[in-house]
Amino acid sequence: MSKNQRLAAVSSGLLILITLTPVASQLTSTMRGHVLLQIPLLVAVGIGFGRSLAPHLVRFLNRWNAMGIPGILITIFTIAFWMIPRWIDASLTNTSVEWIKHSSLVLLGGIPLALSWERLYPVARGAVKIEFLSMLFRLGWLYLISPDRFCNSYLLEDQIWLGWGMIIIGMALTLTWLVPVFFGEYAPAETGHSSPKNPNEAPNAA
């Protein structure tokens, strides 16, 4: 089995595990599991698939994905959509919405991210990371102060858990991304714009 096939197999296995087995309802039984585990896992599955795509397909898609901009936009819109509480609720009460959520997070969330991340200009990569962090802090804060439940399917207590979870994950991510920036030792580039490949800019970082 080639490396790509292995990756695809692992991703498929993970996808089956989190959508078809009892793990699925376990993950969505709490708001924190839903938002902090299930959604990121679905994106991760998509990243796995994206990285195991056949080279000629990647080449074809790249023609439509200059500098990774179109691709990252698809990912951003997809994730933004599934941050709307209304649709999180709907995915619990409506099976077709649930399937749309699963497939879109894999196909439109993860795969374009995998195909675009390395191609993004480093400044754009940084901007996406910063915006991602501020989204975590903003949503976390909103969840903590909201007088009402955002989701009818979850308890207020659960929502506060999620708020803290987002803020703590945001802080942890900040540190994780900062340490290599300060202490990493990237090979200095010889010339021009050939920016070195940075360990902190692995595609799974976002």
């Binding site: 439509w64 936009l73 819109f77 709307i84 209304r86 609720d89 439940r149 955002f150 009818n152 207020l156």
Partner: protein, 203 residues
């Protein structure tokens, strides 16, 4: 950026922004609760003729009422928190309607979603506790658990059993006219509810 990617970017921006706009009803509806209320205003929802039994043993349905308007709240009598507030608000509403001379035309109806615990006498106690003036304010229970579940789904009510508190649910007042839910009010919005009733009955 090459031509095809520029086109792709524009198309993605258009679709993405449209999806977010449509998904939030034009940046206004972020939660399922808000969506449920807005949908009712736009398309009043007919209620099926499920049989309910009130605290005095009379049967009734949500689909039919002798009065012009019905205000429904969903309760369970052992509720320690939000239903207490709703009960107190209903009492206020009852006296406001009486003062305005509208009590005869409006039916106040508290429906339990916990028929296992709330029988006829418990519901009577509940009405007495909040000073309900019968028959203007009634309390009733579904006779059939499947019909209860169907109604809750139909109204978009989600009840989560919770250890210490009994149940947690998205509490609201449902304004019903001709067997259709025409508007849903927040439990803090009693004044708005009263104004809406007055406006409806004035025309």
């Amino acid at each position: 950026m090459n031509g095809s990617s520029t086109i792709a970017t524009i198309v993605i921006l258009a679709i993405g922004l449209s999806a977010l706009t449509v998904g939030t009803n034009g940046w206004s509806t972020w939660t399922a609760e808000a969506a449920r209320r807005q949908a009712v205003v736009e398309r009043p929802r007919p209620l099926p003729a499920y049989q309910l039994l009130d605290s005095r043993g009379e049967s009734l349905t949500l689909a039919q009422s002798e009065r012009d308007l019905t205000v429904v709240d969903l309760i369970y009598t052992q509720c320690p928190t939000v239903c207490l507030a709703m009960g107190a608000q209903f009492r206020q509403l009852q006296s406001e309607l009486a003062t305005a001379g509208l009590l005869e035309r409006v039916e106040l109806l508290s429906v339990t979603f916990d028929p296992a615990n709330d029988d006829q006498s418990t519901l009577s106690d509940y009405l007495r506790r909040f000073g309900a003036v019968e028959p203007h304010w009634r309390a009733a229970r579904f006779q059939d658990n499947d019909e209860l579940a169907a109604s809750l789904t139909d109204l978009g009510v989600i009840v989560i059993p919770e250890q210490s508190m009994g149940f947690v649910h998205n509490a609201a007042y449902y304004l019903i006219e001709n067997g259709r839910v025409i508007e849903i009010f927040d439990i803090e919005a009693r004044t708005d509810l009263f104004e809406a009733i007055r406006a409806r009955l004035a025309t």
